[in-house]
Symmetry: D2
Subunit: 295 residues, 4 copies
Amino acid sequence: MASIGFIGVGNMGGPMAINLVKAGHQVKVFDLSAELVQQVVAQGAQRAATVQDAACDVDVLISMLPSGQIVEDLYIHQTGLLDHINPRTLVIDCSTIAPENAINLAQAAKVKDIVTLDAPVSGGVGGAKAGTLTFIVGGDKSAFEKAEPILRNMGKSVFHAGNHGAGQMAKICNNMLLAVHMIGTAEALQLGVDNGLDPQVLSQIMLQSSGRNWSLELYNPYPGVMPNVPASNNYDGGFQTNLMNKDLGLALEAALKSQSSTPMGYLAKSLYGLHGRKGFGKKDFSSIQKMFEKD
Amino acid sequence: MASIGFIGVGNMGGPMAINLVKAGHQVKVFDLSAELVQQVVAQGAQRAATVQDAACDVDVLISMLPSGQIVEDLYIHQTGLLDHINPRTLVIDCSTIAPENAINLAQAAKVKDIVTLDAPVSGGVGGAKAGTLTFIVGGDKSAFEKAEPILRNMGKSVFHAGNHGAGQMAKICNNMLLAVHMIGTAEALQLGVDNGLDPQVLSQIMLQSSGRNWSLELYNPYPGVMPNVPASNNYDGGFQTNLMNKDLGLALEAALKSQSSTPMGYLAKSLYGLHGRKGFGKKDFSSIQKMFEKD
Amino acid sequence: MASIGFIGVGNMGGPMAINLVKAGHQVKVFDLSAELVQQVVAQGAQRAATVQDAACDVDVLISMLPSGQIVEDLYIHQTGLLDHINPRTLVIDCSTIAPENAINLAQAAKVKDIVTLDAPVSGGVGGAKAGTLTFIVGGDKSAFEKAEPILRNMGKSVFHAGNHGAGQMAKICNNMLLAVHMIGTAEALQLGVDNGLDPQVLSQIMLQSSGRNWSLELYNPYPGVMPNVPASNNYDGGFQTNLMNKDLGLALEAALKSQSSTPMGYLAKSLYGLHGRKGFGKKDFSSIQKMFEKD
Amino acid sequence: MASIGFIGVGNMGGPMAINLVKAGHQVKVFDLSAELVQQVVAQGAQRAATVQDAACDVDVLISMLPSGQIVEDLYIHQTGLLDHINPRTLVIDCSTIAPENAINLAQAAKVKDIVTLDAPVSGGVGGAKAGTLTFIVGGDKSAFEKAEPILRNMGKSVFHAGNHGAGQMAKICNNMLLAVHMIGTAEALQLGVDNGLDPQVLSQIMLQSSGRNWSLELYNPYPGVMPNVPASNNYDGGFQTNLMNKDLGLALEAALKSQSSTPMGYLAKSLYGLHGRKGFGKKDFSSIQKMFEKD
């Protein structure tokens, strides 16, 4: 079993850290919110007094933070945590951030002989709790192999996407595609309903046909078609529109840098941008269905 | 076993008729092309000298034609085939046409006590040959139940979508969604490749994540990722861009009629429209990947 | 001076007919609403008891109707007014309808030796009242020349766009472009305001720069920038979103028929479609500005 | 008359500097290309041996550079030119860069008591040569008033858009709107032509109607409609697609930062992105017309 520091134990990080505890690891957690820390400590983790304490003398240091700026500030600039990390500690950053941020971290770490991985996740809060996340990892193959068994304690799939930043890049591509088929699914369901079809019947037909996709299969955006999804719970819970907008922003920035053209991805960003502005920022992203309804 | 008339034995209708022959039915076929008729006759069907002959004295009459205008001309206007059909014959039109055309046919038939079903298919030429098509059926439940065993000789899934026209409407919704996730998949793969990812690795990751969809799973548009798909065969074979444009045109017309707004669907039509204009009309629709490549 | 029959004296047709009266013509008017007829009669027109009466024994018959179906029903099908029109009467249809409808009318009229023109207008209710409309005319050159002086009594510009249907087609292209730059203007103004610019200053700058367009110049969609436009009057009056949606629908149908690809035009239709669904159907089309506001 | 340093005398900066010379100012120019410098020196400017030399002992220092990174490197980071500038010198940066870059420059300058303005231009190479540019200026009002007479030697309109960065922001909004109506104009013309209209006649009609915009009026993208525009010269000269893509990239980044939604602007970026990838990067931006042609 490993000794693990864990920084950032919010909606995602909290259940992830608890799964590490349950797997038998020795886990020290830090968060700016004492209350969040307490929830994990209650499951058997140790409280770290400071980020430096969380990072000190551990086999693996995991971070789960809300933005690339915060990640860079923590490790490189403001807090300069890299100065306090032992080179034998493997740093795994699970935040969803721009590939550049991940590469900046890797390069700054390398100067100090510290090895990092970018390992953003797919699967949401539900997957974090159930331990069924997908980890999409960028960095050296040998570090990936060292990290894999730890990550498997928190997820069911662990992929090596390529070099530093590749984990972030693959996640960005995935989430852009998710946004596209979620909106496409919402439009197709509304078009059918507007023309007299039953959304449940139409969903079943498309699931067995070439329209099939993850949104339709596991996350139907039309209220009442599927139990236990946000659409059947007033679009509460799930993956917030604000977070989808953040990920689509990362996709746009990546496309700008590589001069790629992604018309559907850009339109998805435009529509989720409108949706967020109209009061749906904290609702689940499948609430885009409401954009297409007739008031 | 049933006696069946079959009108229109092209790329789709030909293999469908042959599957009916193989299932033991007595099949009479008609097509304007003697050559196409001959290919089905060679498998055991009878040649009908005229459309009237094909429609005469059969339990079931199936048609598979390229447009709503042709369907209406055949049954109602020009040829007036409804005048030659016995009310005991069940008419199943498998063409992909506008819901209005299907409803017009049903209403004109009803005046003569003839029962019709609209039963467009999903699954392409491959599915037609393999007998694995999906039939999406509109019309009365009792007629649907009568048709179902016959349709199962040509397909693996048979759905009752609702009343007359509902089969067409559900297919239109499905194909619009297909166009959206095909383009979204192509964009995501290109964005990844432009940023250094391996399209095969990225495809595997997204297949296990929330980006998953039919295009990615069975019909990867990036050359070389998947064997035996058009993308790995110079985009030959498969489902032509021209046909996707036809189906997207039906979706637009339906949306105009119901005043539904489908931004992703409209953008998909715009992009496939551009693609068709630039010489890709007869290439498989997954060739949209080439739109996003850097020349 | 000419004797003129005028069918359809609503928001647009009413002031147009009054301008003909003021120019000294002898005008007989018909409308299903007696109240609307009365408003024109009060200005000196005669009341026609029936459409047949309005069409009987006049030099010119003008119609201004809400849809192509109604135009075809009036002249060709239901009412069959062409049977009651003297071949010496020039028929000028000012309705905005599909080019096909205009061509159908021209062909049905030609059989009876009657000459028609399609002459849709640009300029709105304000232009109709002020007599400053633009007429965009399709049909034979000689008929155009005969119509021109009459049309000049109602407008300041009269264009010959080409053969039958060309007037409609040119108007459709114009209004699609109008929708595109209206939305583009609203987006640019909101982007500026969101980034701290004054909408008035930004409008002045863009008016003197390459962003200049009719929407910015005469119809600024941002409240308070320009007096006497709908944006400064709670988006009341002006050109309704519903009517823009109708015209964009005609553009889409034309593009489908000619297999043209118009991505910006289709997106404009998608956005105006959403806008109409969200309760802005009867507001002026510049109210699209509200779509981009932060709630 | 003033003594002026001028850094960057390429396609735009060269003719601008020459116009300052012609107005009687004493102008010292610097560029990495000796050849470009020579062209301005030949008109009466002095050659500055280094950037420091160009910046030394002048009333006004003007820079015209290709990117925000280069501007920041010149003044703040790599070259640190601010250390060599006398506080009495007014710095006017005419480059088109992100508002953040302009604000960074202003703040770094303020620390050293140096006053800056961001003053990007609209009007292209033609406007630079003719001295008819539009300057869109951000910064303090008093500095703006000091700069205005100098800028009027190079342009016909000078606007004060607001504080530091506002000049850039207003230019970004303008160019996004320009992209939108250029593409909209190209689509409308193609739609008309595909339906039998003459592009010249259609252009005239729309110019007198509500479709009117700068692209249609001064820069018609359809070949042969207007002499002396890039469309009638194989799309050579003018404002390159690559530069439009750069400006649209700045618009996207600004929209991301302010969480504004600009669907038409994003689609314009997608289409210009595709266009640039397909070999039109160095053609004039009105060549987007070719995207809509039928091959």
